[in-house]
């Protein structure tokens, strides 16, 4: 009998693919149904934000950075403001810090809800998508009444926040928080114990802690691998050291653990907002800061915060008495998460690429900038 000849073949996935969360392309080398090599091809959303920021004044950078990671625009504003504040030694008023934390945590919940909706959609469950977006709209209502936008907020500015919250904000936020935990129970009831969901996620895309660290994986994905590290606790910025909250972690580092970490994180974020609303003081909402005449002193620094996907950072280099930064380097966490993907999907099936990518919560603006 003649010997069977086998050969590898290449499958192209993307850049326009409904479940790659944007415009990511994978070139998959297959051996039968098993992936032996995956190569991400990026750059389909490279908008040159870093180049744009070099020709903008410091306060003009903030609306540009809204588009850097649009699922959590608040944290893009925050990380850049934080960098400039550290650079120029600006003290942010107490009330502004609390408003920032409230917005950041609401934004984290909103971003996790997008993740939940799209993840379940990718894995074939349509209902959680509709549930998650229902609650997300409520958060967006809160944002909209505060800063007039649904997605690109431009709310956290250098030295404070753009404007104070309207009077209906606190009652509406409390009303939302009162029911939110039950809503999370609802999501869990649909997904957590669902046999199909478990089969698609458990022991898929297992990431060891060593692998995660070598590739610079951060945020919920790192915690899913069992490393208890959260910048809000371990390198506290703003006023996060004043709140009590837990850091959920996983054990195996598979897709299911990452799912559980994010679900629990939503509850923790709700806890933080509750505390912040309780403690919210009266006072100024912005330090004295003139966006037009502001000139930064010479200096350079890398500032980082924990956003919903992981570590988001800005490296800022400034020249003395210049209105514009010399260099702005944006560090999005998905950049590293996508880089580790080939290691995670090796030996799995094509359908698992979708599951792993969804569980890592990769979105492309973060990668391509």
């Amino acid at each position: 009998m003649a010997e069977l000849r086998t050969e590898e073949f290449v499958v192209n996935m993307g850049p326009h693919h409904p479940s790659t969360h944007g415009v990511c392309r994978f070139v998959l080398t297959m051996d039968g149904e098993k992936i032996i090599k995956a190569e991400p091809v990026i750059g389909y959303l490279h908008r040159a934000l870093e180049k744009i920021c070099e020709n903008r004044t410091y306060s003009q950078c903030i609306p540009v950075l809204d588009r850097f990671e649009y699922c959590t625009s608040m944290s893009c504003n925050q990380v850049f403001s934080l960098a400039v504040e550290k650079l120029a030694g600006i003290q942010v008023p107490e009330r502004a810090e609390y408003l920032r934390v409230i917005m950041l945590e609401f934004n984290r919940i909103a971003s996790h809800l997008i993740w939940l909706g799209t993840t379940s959609l990718d894995l074939g469950a349509l209902t959680p998508f509709l549930y998650a977006f229902r609650e997300r709209e409520m958060i967006l209502d809160l944002f909209e009444m505060t800063c007039g936008q649904r997605l690109t907020y431009n709310y956290i500015r250098i030295g404070g926040v753009a404007r104070d919250i309207p009077s209906q904000f606190v009652p509406m936020a409390k009303q939302f928080l009162a029911t939110f935990d039950h809503k999370v129970d609802d999501y869990e009831r649909v997904l957590t114990e669902n046999p199909i969901f478990m089969a698609r996620n458990q022991n898929i895309g297992v990431m060891s802690p060593e692998l995660a660290l070598a590739y610079g994986v951060s945020g919920p994905n790192l915690r899913g691998s069992g490393i208890k590290f959260d910048l809000r606790k371990d390198d506290p910025y703003s006023i996060y050291d004043r709140f009590k909250f837990n850091i959920p972690t996983g054990q195996n580092g598979d897709c299911y653990d990452r799912y559980m970490v994010r679900i629990r994180e939503m509850r923790e974020s709700a806890k933080i907002v509750r505390q912040a609303l309780e403690q919210l003081p009266e006072g100024e909402i912005s330090a004295k800061f003139s966006p037009i005449t502001f000139k930064a002193p010479a200096g350079e620094l890398y500032s980082r915060i924990e956003n919903s996907r992981g570590e988001m950072g800005v490296y800022l280099q400034s020249r003395d008495k210049e209105k514009k930064p010399l260099r702005v380097k944006l560090r999005g966490s998905s950049y590293n998460h996508l880089q580790v993907m080939p290691e995670l999907v090796r030996g799995h099936l094509i359908a698992d690429v979708v599951a792993v990518m969804a569980s890592m919560d990769i979105i492309m603006p973060d990668v391509d900038r």
Partner: protein, 168 residues
């Protein structure tokens, strides 16, 4: 009888019902406008608003708009989000793969004319109308779901006026 009121028809009653006479153009364009299936083509921020429009509160489906993952099954591209120079040829490819008649909605400032990335960016296409022909422009960064719905209604109006011989 809703559909008959909106179309130029001649209704002849016969025992047990009626015969409707209308022009092929009107019935074709009417049915097409009522079920514009769009290609799920979201690249950036606007894609999130597109998703929000499709989700619970805004409910895109009531306009007869259902998303499709394949260009071969869709009538409409909603270009939601920044189109970069690297993505431009792919957009053209997807457009070419669609069957006639096909429509394009440019959603958001980036697709209308470069938007916030018009200046200082070396990588962004300044408007998609030199890649594919655009039927409806929706400005905004990103446009609200209401604007998107309005844009789709505008497109439906346009589709209803088209005749079969207009299909290229």
């Amino acid at each position: 009888m809703g559909i008959i009121k909106k179309l130029p028809v001649y209704l002849e009653k016969i025992p047990g019902g009626g015969i409707v006479t209308t022009s092929l153009d009107s019935i074709f364009s009417y049915s097409q406008a009522s079920s514009l299936w769009y290609l799920l083509f979201g690249t950036a921020c606007c894609a999130i608003e597109l998703m929000a429009t499709g989700a619970s509160r805004y409910d895109f489906d009531r306009l007869g708009m259902i998303f499709r993952a394949s260009p071969r099954q869709s009538d409409l591209i909603i270009a939601a989000g920044t189109i970069t120079k690297k993505m431009g040829p792919r957009l053209r490819l997807l457009y070419d793969q669609m069957a006639e008649p096909r429509y394009v909605i440019a959603m958001g400032g980036c697709t209308v004319g470069g938007g916030p990335f018009y200046y200082d960016s070396y990588a962004v296409e300044k408007g998609i109308d030199h890649i594919v022909p655009v039927d409806v422009y929706i400005p905004g960064c990103p446009p609200r779901p209401e604007s998107l719905l309005e844009g789709c209604l505008t497109l439906q109006k346009k589709v209803k006026t088209l005749k079969i011989q207009d299909w290229s």
